[in-house]
Assembly symmetry: C2
Homo-oligomer: 202 residues x 2
């Protein structure tokens, strides 16, 4: 199969999955516009995305993602009480509060297309972006550097007092705010860039 045909097949498959996810309300509102912009281009498609989230997770062992238990997951800003509530479900292991900035996986049809996308993303502050696969199939990951990875308790008991927890939640919320701003910046810049590409190609 030609490389172009493989790209088109992968794009079709990805768009079908996206439509399904949209119909099941599994796509973050804040990221829908940018997905449409990217998928409207001949050079790219999105294969997965998250607009940013706050997570309370229980990890039996450091780095043991398989054994990880999600106690709370919020695609929005939260109140400190919500952490306490979610932590009640904890059993054994370390409790981590994470704030994760947006992440997008994007297929590109050429190395030039992937490089242009990477440069655009990095210029919008998504400095942790990189191509995860640069062989026949090219997949670019767009993500940012702001994050919180903070152990806040163990075996169901929170270590931090109320004041400290408030501070952590404030930081997590600030990361969510900054995530929205950065996504908007990327949306604008990609829209502008991709409209030029269309003109060039026609």
């Amino acid at each position: 199969m030609s490389k172009e045909k493989e790209f088109l097949d992968a794009k079709e498959k990805a768009l079908n999955s996206l439509e399904k996810a949209k119909s099941e309300n599994k796509v973050d509102e804040g990221i829908k516009a940018i997905l449409d912009i990217i998928n409207g281009s001949d050079e790219y498609y999105t294969s997965s995305s998250c607009a940013g989230r706050i997570v309370l997770i229980e990890l039996p062992q450091l780095g043991d993602k398989k054994g990880a238990e999600f106690l709370g997951k919020w695609h929005r800003k939260i109140e400190p009480d919500e952490i306490g509530g979610a932590a009640k479900k904890a059993k054994t292991g370390m409790l981590w509060l994470l704030a994760q900035s947006p992440i997008l996986h994007i297929g590109a049809n050429t190395h030039d297309a992937s490089d242009n996308l990477l440069k655009t993303a990095i210029s919008c502050g998504f400095k942790n972006s990189g191509a995860k696969s640069t062989g026949r199939k090219i997949i670019v990951e767009i993500c940012s550097t702001e994050r919180l990875d903070s152990p806040i308790g163990k075996d169901g008991k929170l270590f931090c007092n109320e004041e400290y927890l408030n501070l952590l939640v404030n930081i997590a919320n600030e990361i969510m705010d900054r995530s929205s701003l950065k996504l908007h910046r990327l949306e604008e810049k990609l829209e502008k860039y991709l409209s030029t590409r269309k003109t060039t190609q026609q």
Copy 2:
């Protein structure tokens, strides 16, 4: 200039910088063997590296890396007292304790070479790896997912009590241990892989 010539020039420049850094004791001991293995290959060169570190940093504002002040930087496991000592230099802003796993930047001469390197790195647990640039110049970043990004105080005052600080330092030290293990795994796998490549090319 041909792409190959550009690669060779970039490699020569990188190796000169590396020799200078080595002579100034600026290269982490734990990463020297892997750098030599990579630079011994015709397909790659290393442009920067860190074997993993624990950092105490003061950030005036979230994500404000320019205004960041490094109060402590350790390329080894630490004692909780060392955090307290370094925090004495704090002025204003949020204090973050970070543990960062190894990071390597590697130039590759072809997209296939970068893809093979990425696959090898990911199979050794460096799951955050990606190509940062996929155009004429190809740069792969190898890094892992374990990390600690924990705000521990503000304006010179630590929020966490002794018990909590001990726990955070334990986790940071565990990240350093896991970093060494992963680097050794990558070293072995790359040595094996690159020796096959040499045979194939001869």
